[in-house]
């Protein structure tokens, strides 16, 4: 069961906003509703579900309703219609008291402008959520310190927020959001106010934290690169509606409509595509065969190299056509002509990291998984083709 399930979640701003819901159901556009009723549609019937441990990115330009949508999840903004189910429990039906408990225990939040309390020290900021739920001072202090350590701010606990840099302040924000170990962490443009370099560090750290803590994260951003970097699932929003939900690859490779297409066309593919996207099927041979078989295979397939693997598909090395014909003349075994040193990368290697390796080697680059099994090879042409945005070969084909 998904940890969060959102069904037709709608927010309309204006007096007596509920009257616009039937209009939305009839398929009226945001503009038409604004013109006819003076009501502003913030979020239009958004539906999605988030699995536990996922990073779910909601992406869109400013004014697309993404920040409103995330606030509907913990009712910082009261939804006009629809449902938000947290483990099957409808958040919209919760009483004030129950909602408060939900916010205290289950859902944390990190804000774009950090929203740290200026009159409290770093550790007091991190303690805040636990303080309001009445946790004892010793316990909350200890948890806050653990959380600060997690984000690398040990030693700064007695500073005030204005004594820290932006990146450090947002670490405090992150520590505060995580301190009480909530099930879900909402991050509203959490890294948007940071410098690009610090931003990338924070993204890396978030991914690292995530791999340790397995939190469910709802991450809002207007930056597609960021979305593609950290998202397991991405929901793209426009004018309050979700236009596409999918994995980063699905969004890139199969844009649902012109809007998404336009959005993704400027993406630096070299920072998104990985070795597994552009590798092709290698021609392989096992060690037991002789040089004659190898040479014949190369002729048949029209290649000048063969990859030697064992029965478990583990990569041993590569042989070239010249070496194979030399071996036939000298009556040598295949074993003696294997080149065991060859460039290899993991399937997750990003394209832009491949450039250097590709440019310094004559051989295609082997793609191997963590068990040294050969997954595919990458030839120069494929890298260029992928960057040009041309037909990207099916993975492994």
């Amino acid at each position: 069961m998904p940890i969060i399930e959102v069904k037709k979640l709608t927010k309309i701003f204006g007096p007596d906003a509920k009257r616009a819901i039937p209009l939305l159901n009839d398929g009226w556009s945001k503009e038409k509703i604004l013109k006819e009723t003076k009501l502003t549609v913030g979020v239009n019937q958004a539906s999605f579900s988030i699995e536990e441990g996922q990073i779910f990115v909601i992406m869109g330009l400013s004014g697309s309703g993404k920040s409103t949508l995330v606030r509907l999840l913990n009712r910082l903004i009261e939804p006009t219609g629809g449902e938000v189910l947290f483990n099957g429990d409808n958040v919209l039906k919760m009483s004030t008291e129950k909602l408060r408990r939900f916010r205290r225990k289950n859902i944390g939040m990190v804000f774009q402008k950090f929203a740290l309390f200026p009159h409290r020290t770093v550790v007091q900021n991190v303690e805040y959520g636990m303080e309001v739920q009445g946790m004892s001072k010793a316990e909350r202090h200890q948890k806050a310190m653990t959380s600060l350590e997690l984000v690398g701010l040990k030693g700064w606990e007695d500073s005030y927020p204005d004594q820290l840099s932006g990146g450090m302040q947002q670490r405090v924000g992150l520590a505060r959001g995580l301190a009480n170990d909530p099930d879900i962490l909402l991050m509203d443009e959490a890294f948007s106010a940071l410098d690009p370099l610090i931003r990338k560090d924070m993204q890396d750290e978030l991914l690292e934290l995530q791999s340790k803590m397995k939190k469910t994260i709802v991450f809002i951003t207007h930056d597609l690169d960021e979305a593609l970097r950290i998202g397991d699932q991405i929901a793209l929003m426009k004018d309050g509606s979700i236009v596409q939900i999918g994995s980063p690859e699905e969004i890139l490779m199969q844009p649902a409509n012109k809007y998404v297409e336009r959005f993704v066309e400027d993406v630096d593919l070299s920072k998104v595509l990985t070795a597994s996207h552009i590798m092709r099927k290698p021609e392989t041979i096992t060690l037991e065969r002789g040089p004659r078989v190898a040479l014949q295979l190369m002729r048949d397939r029209g290649v000048s190299n063969l990859y030697v693997v064992d029965k478990g598909k583990k990569l041993i090395g590569v042989i070239s056509a010249e070496d194979a014909s030399q071996a036939i003349k000298d009556n040598q075994t295949l074993e003696s002509i294997i080149q065991r040193e060859l460039p290899s990368v993991s399937p997750e290697t990003l394209l832009h990291e491949l450039f250097e390796i590709i440019s310094t080697t004559r051989l295609p680059v082997a793609v191997i998984d963590e068990d040294q099994r050969l997954q595919g090879i990458i030839i120069k042409g494929a890298v260029l083709a992928a960057l040009a945005g041309n037909t990207i070969p099916e993975a492994g084909a």
Partner: protein, 278 residues
């Protein structure tokens, strides 16, 4: 068409009579509270030997504000003592402090209510405007009717005149707490009172203190008027000097009020700055 004169004066007189008739137990109660607060404060202040109190106040000013202010307080207060206005100044101080304390006790909660509910603000704001612009002499009369002559109607009139800045700036200070901080407090599941105590009041405090400072200054400016209905103190000395056309005496008593005003102003202005440094 001839519209007859609207009998506002009669209505107000009637209201005054009605209030006096039905609410006199309440007025007596207020009179008791205010009267005993002023008297209590005054007897504490008068209990100290003047020179000791001068040194204590100067030391406090030195500690809270700058050392130069400490010296000023020492010299200024000694001048008051030397001129023979010490006892009157202490009576005035007791009146001003009582008015200020009661203004804070009443004004801050009203300010908080205004900040929370715009409807309250919409009602309170014009009332405050009315209180600040209606000439003080006008409400001295009902104050005498309800509280009789003496220091109590003086305190009440001072409060009416001086409370608006505390209410206004408390309201403003809370409303000026950045929305994202309030949102963060909400997101972590604060109750409204937790939000108020842990976030809004601490952040609004400098603004609230500015309001309290104004309130103290305004109530100090009321001491001469209060003396017309029987409040004792340097205000009464000024009033007497004015009615007898004694410019020199009036000036002496006036200096006492100025010295008191400057010390109170610097103390309240710097109270927070000191705290922040620590």
């Amino acid at each position: 068409m001839d519209i007859p004169k609207i009998p506002i004066a009669q209505w107000v007189d009637k209201l005054e009579k009605l209030l006096q008739e039905y609410l006199s137990p309440l007025f007596n109660f207020i009179r008791l509270i205010v009267g005993s607060t002023v008297n209590g404060l005054e007897s504490v202040l008068q209990w100290f030997p003047p020179l000791l109190l001068i040194v204590l106040i100067a030391a406090l000013t030195w500690y809270v504000a700058k050392w130069r202010m400490g010296i000023f307080a020492l010299l200024g207060l000694y001048l008051i003592y030397n001129l023979g206005y010490w006892s009157g100044t202490m009576q005035t101080l007791a009146l001003v402090l009582t008015a200020a304390i009661l203004s804070v006790v009443i004004g801050v909660p009203i300010g908080i209510l205004c900040a929370r509910k715009s409807a309250v603000q919409n009602i309170v704001t014009p009332v405050l405007d009315f209180m600040q612009t209606m000439p003080a002499f006008v409400y001295l009369l009902p104050a005498i009717t309800f509280f009789r002559l003496g220091v109590v109607p003086g305190v009440i009139a001072s409060i009416i005149f001086a409370i608006p800045p505390t209410i206004r700036l408390t309201n403003l200070g809370i409303r000026q707490v950045p929305a994202e901080l309030v949102e963060a407090a909400d997101a972590f599941g604060s109750t409204p009172s937790q939000k108020l105590i842990k976030l809004q009041l601490p952040i609004a405090l400098p603004t609230i203190m500015a309001g309290i400072n104004q309130t103290i200054m305004l109530s100090l400016s009321m001491v001469v008027i209060a003396s017309m209905i029987g409040a004792q103190g340097v205000g009464a000395d000024v009033y007497r000097a004015v009615t007898q056309a004694k410019t020199g005496v009036g000036f002496e008593a006036g200096i006492a009020i100025v010295v008191l005003a400057i010390i109170l102003d610097r103390l309240t202005q710097n109270a927070l700055r000191k705290k922040k440094k620590q």
